[in-house]
């Protein structure tokens, strides 16, 4: 199992401001000098991850105190220059919110060259509320996503003549990447899924498929992927095709690990702080999905389940989040055992996308967390055995 350090790079001083943490939060609440210090601090932690032999994952959001990385590729380009060994994953680029996909391809290619071919690229549907910032059309969202995807892949992999593109959504006289990416035919491509159905789409394509904070649902996501992959390619998908995103708090002392976990918990509590109006822009969800959601009482959205079958409360305890498989907390032995058990329960996966920094966790604690995971947990996770196929498919309906 490979481990990827990930932080949303929050501007956590704004967590004290009442109300929405996104979309409507006034930018006057941001002290840019403080923001600069924090951004540099998070980059330092990414560089430490590189030194420790971990990989790196970057994301992006917009108009949000919870995430100051407003461009995956900008953050990733800095690390392409400043890190040495780490694989650099953008997870991901919200394609249907981008007005210029050829520019996206250019940025990928440039970062891949800068890094010596260490980039990995995730394309994501992205958060619905970011349509208010991108102002891209909510209807036809996924049509636009797939056209942008086709165009970017055509550009990244092109070894022939330059080409023109007249699509439904995008129009280019000539597509020509200077530079083009080192990794051929293209950097590894990642997608994200939260259901077996969407995972099957990616299984058929053979991209890497990650699922975020989905707990026990990861099992059906991975099964959906594996079945589609096997049907398409005639052999089983390797664990390197599958990733799981979670929070990790590791300390020499168990109570210290829990204390740190409390400091990271505002990642979950701030996630809930957005008015429903912004979560479901008109035209974004299909009509039938909205009808189904409203007929079943409306709102809520996905909540991962605990072992007793009940959803984790929005303000759940650390133990409840751990029970649901979203949080791994404790000594290096504890964390190893929790992750190994989860790995086996969901049928195995090859990438642990680890938030070793979240919420208000400070630099010293983050550095210690990263160091312990890299030195005492990662070597043991490397040795995790494949889950037996019979066991993997047992119980998959």
């Amino acid at each position: 199992m490979d481990i990827w350090q990930f932080s949303e790079q929050a501007y956590y001083p704004a967590f004290e401001v009442p109300g929405n943490m996104r979309v409507t939060l006034p930018q006057s609440e941001c002290d840019p000098v403080e923001a600069g210090k924090l951004l540099n601090r998070y980059l330092d932690e990414y560089m430490l991850a590189d030194e420790l032999g971990l990989n790196i994952m970057i994301n992006e959001h917009h108009a949000a105190a919870t995430c100051m990385s407003t461009s995956c590729m900008t953050t990733l380009a800095i690390l392409a220059r400043q890190t040495k060994k780490a694989r650099l994953l953008a997870l991901g680029i919200p394609l249907a919110n981008r007005s210029n996909p050829l520019r996206v391809a250019e940025e990928i290619a440039m970062a891949d060259c800068l890094s010596g071919g260490r980039t990995e690229i995730g394309f994501v549907k992205g958060a619905s509320y970011e349509l208010f910032m991108s102002n891209r059309q909510p209807t036809g969202f996924m049509d636009r996503f797939w056209e942008a995807y086709d165009l970017i892949m055509a550009a990244l992999t092109n070894e022939g003549e330059n080409f023109s593109w007249e699509g439904e959504h995008f129009h280019y006289r000539t597509a020509s990447l200077w530079p083009r990416p080192i990794q051929q035919p293209a950097p590894p491509i990642w997608m994200t899924a939260s259901s077996a159905g969407s995972a099957a789409t990616y299984g058929k394509m053979g991209t890497v498929c990650a699922t975020f904070l989905s707990g026990s649902v990861a099992r059906s996501v991975f099964s959906g992927y594996r079945q589609a992959y096997a049907a398409q390619f005639g052999h089983q998908a390797g664990r390197d095709r599958l990733g799981y995103l979670c929070l990790v708090s590791c300390a020499k002392d168990r109570s210290e690990a829990f204390r740190r976990a409390e400091q990271m918990k505002s990642y979950f509590t701030t996630a809930a702080r957005l008015e429903p109006t912004f979560r479901n822009p008109l035209g974004f969800n299909p009509v039938e999905a909205n009808v189904k959601m409203l007929m079943s009482g409306g709102g809520g959205g996905f909540r991962p389940l605990m072992r007793n079958g009940k959803p984790v409360p929005a303000d759940g305890s650390i133990e409840e989040y751990m029970d649901a498989g979203l949080y791994f907390v404790g000594t290096p032995d504890d964390v190893y055992e929790q992750i190994a058990r989860f790995h086996d329960e969901v049928g195995g996966f090859g990438h642990l996308l680890m938030m070793a920094q979240a919420g208000e966790l400070d630099h010293a604690a983050t550095a210690d967390n990263l160091t312990l995971v890299a030195q005492e947990v990662a070597p043991r996770l490397k040795e995790l055995q494949e889950v037996e196929l019979d066991a993997r498919y047992e119980g998959v309906g």
Binding site: F132, Q137, T277, G283, V287, E288, V291, L294, M295
Partner: protein, 268 residues
């Protein structure tokens, strides 16, 4: 698409017509001179009472626009400009040579799109809180952004009186909820950006030459006075009136007054 019995519209006939492959639901009622009613963001149901009153003097033709209510979305259409051409086909199909034309908010925009293309296709035009002109100028907003207002608050702000029949989505039965969700989706398709307008419409409105009136509510909480004035400036050939005791959905707040003004302009 199956049509359902629509709340408040039991006094006429709901049928399905095919316009070049797109199934459109059409409500017809009354007798007399033909009148084409183009519904607004509140759908056909939201205009039930004014349609009922108009049907006492006119033969009212009230379709649901493609994508709204029970009408199919037409492949490839994503501008009200497209709907303008679609409605010329629909009027040909229904043999509506020169009906009285009435449009409420979104439907007013649509009426303007139709008549800037073929100005002779209406005998008179009534625009009720029309959208379609530029809804903002840089940082100055003339029309509230309905996509950023919470549903319940929007339901209150749309009129002085009670919210329309499809506006409380938490209590609607499934069939009506589906219609409300289809209206929402169509609003987004046609009005997300540029927001509820065709920036080119202002330069085309001079083509409309039939007797025209523009009606606003005195207590409009959606469009500002500057927007009302912009319409008057863009259509100097039209009469403008402000109706007391009415908000943006003045066809719901003051249906009798609106119906009387439409009949008066149409000479019915």
């Amino acid at each position: 698409m199956d049509t359902v019995s629509l709340a408040g519209l039991e006094f006429g006939t709901l049928s399905a017509i095919d316009i070049r492959g797109t199934q459109v639901e059409l409500f017809t009622a009354g007798s007399g001179a033909p009148l084409l009613f183009l519904h607004g963001l509140d759908g056909l149901e939201g205009a039930a009472e004014v349609i009922r009153q108009l049907s006492e003097q006119f033969t009212v033709y009230a379709p649901s626009h493609p994508g709204f209510g029970g009408s199919q979305q037409s492949e490839g259409m994503n501008r009200v400009d497209d709907l303008g051409y679609f409605y010329l086909d629909l009027m040909d199909e229904l043999e509506l040579q020169q009906p009285a034309m009435v449009g409420a908010n979104f439907g007013g925009w649509l009426a303007a799109e139709i008549l800037t293309k073929e100005p002779a296709r209406a005998s008179s035009l009534t625009l009720i809180s029309p959208l379609g002109l530029k809804t903002a100028d840089r940082r100055e907003q003339y029309v509230a952004d309905i996509f950023m207002v919470a549903k319940q608050e929007l339901a209150k702000r749309m009129q002085v009186g009670e919210p329309g029949p499809l506006q409380n989505v938490m209590t609607l039965p499934e069939e009506q909820l589906r219609r409300a969700m289809r209206n929402d989706e169509a609003m987004s398709l046609y009005g997300w950006t540029p927001y509820m307008c065709n920036p080119k419409l202002a330069g085309r409105l001079h083509r409309i030459t039939c007797p025209t009136q523009i009606l606003w509510g005195a207590e409009d909480a959606i469009a500002t006075p500057a927007y009302h004035e912009a319409w008057a400036a863009a259509m100097p050939q039209a009469d403008t009136a402000t109706i007391e005791g009415a908000g943006f959905r003045l066809h719901a707040d003051q249906p009798a007054a609106i119906a009387a003004r439409i009949a008066s302009l149409a000479g019915a």
